[in-house]
């Protein structure tokens, strides 16, 4: 019951929204966050949208980590960290508004 599941918003209604969990599995859930729009990626918890997932913020978490990790790492690891952060950047760039 306490499981968060991401979904795309398909339709906004009065106090609910229709979301798609992927694979065509849709459900009506309570709209429990402001400013949610159709097409948004959201987190659904116990039948309510509790917030919008901001994909661009994944990068800021990684940057936060990178800053910390590189200050501790040796040169080879620094390269590794750079590499995977780069991979994320590319990934987030793909199909990202």
């Amino acid at each position: 019951m306490c499981w968060g599941v991401p979904a795309r918003v398909v339709e906004i209604r009065e106090y609910t929204a229709i979301v798609d969990f992927g694979g065509g599995s849709t459900r009506e859930v309570v709209l429990a966050a402001n400013g949610i729009k159709e097409g948004d990626l959201v987190m659904v918890h116990a039948g309510a949208i509790i917030g919008r997932i901001s994909e661009e913020e994944i990068l800021s978490s990684l940057e936060l980590y990178k800053e910390m990790a590189t200050s501790l790492a040796d040169s080879e690891e620094r390269r590794e960290i750079e590499e995977y952060i780069q991979r994320y950047k590319q990934l987030l760039g793909v199909g990202h508004k």
Partner: protein, 392 residues
Amino acid sequence: MAESPESLQVLRYDAAAASSIKKTIWRLANKLGSKKIKLMNFCGTHEWTTVHFGLRSLMPPNVELVAGPGCPVCVTPSYYIEQAIKLSMDGVRVFSFGDAFKLPSLRRVKGARSLEDAKALGGNVEVVYSFLDAVKKASKDGKDSVFLGIGFETTTPSYSIPLYGGHVPENLYFMSVLRLTPPAASYAIEAALERGVTPVQGIIAPGHVSTITGAKPWDEMARRFGIPAVVSGFEPLDLLMSIAMLLKMIWEGEARVVIEYKRLVSWEGNRYVQEVNSRVFSVEDAAWRGLGFIPESGLELKGSYAAHDAFKEFGVKRLSAEEWSYDLPAACKCADITLGLAKPTDCPLFKRVCMPEHPIGPCMVSLEGTCAVWARFGGGGLAEEIAKEVGV
């Protein structure tokens, strides 16, 4: 649990990244010497990720990951389950989530030890996916019904928003057993201090609870106890990064909160839900199963919303601190497990008599219950195997 978009998938399957973060964790742990570092999570889903992806086996020998009070089903007092069973046996339709349906009570009521039993014995019980489903059914058929309202902060809006908007029909009553996470987290940390066991040195704060509350309460707690906290996401890389961040703060002697789960959590949280909740619910002292009363840790309907209060409508008394008595089966260690003072394997019943298919205590029921997670995925010991899934 599965976060479908590709951008989120990498947080699960990027083996090179996981191995790099693991190195940072080991490096930091080395700096901290041989002293045991205990990091506590407060969310059943964090425990699930920890066990499922074998994160314990990736930890340096001096870093211990422990589970705290992270499962609302586990801490629902037996008394309220018994009252729900009784109502269902009296013919009132009781709506329940699937995991609460299987939750065993301490005492039998008319032969039933759970809502599942009650249904088999002719009780009126219906499992629903959400409160909204119950609202729709009750609106349609007009039958007197009770919703067993279990949950932490994350579940509150699914109840408060329909109530606040006037969408809940008169015939649907709400039995609030809602509980708040930060007071229980403080209680768990204090319990460890009182018992003189290794104190918790870092908090892995619950990502989805914090979506509602914001990071603020965890910052207050971090400063109060002088220990750092990281609000973490639920993918393995989220948790590994959060652990690294905690170790860094411990090493530097910092006691504040950092948000790792920025894609969903802000400092202030979901203001809309906070506002609606404050109109619909009042904060009260409340009982936690096996633990007793924790101050200001529960929610009850207030004002005009009390017209939907199942306790009032059906004359069910609320538990008082004086009346509460220890409500776990003999030998069940759920209370200590909830406080991070014991592991499921410390319980003599674990996987011998108490199993997910046949739970004796409440931590074996829900997928967020620590015993259920360990029983299903092998706990810390077999984690090496599962670690291969993330390629580390």
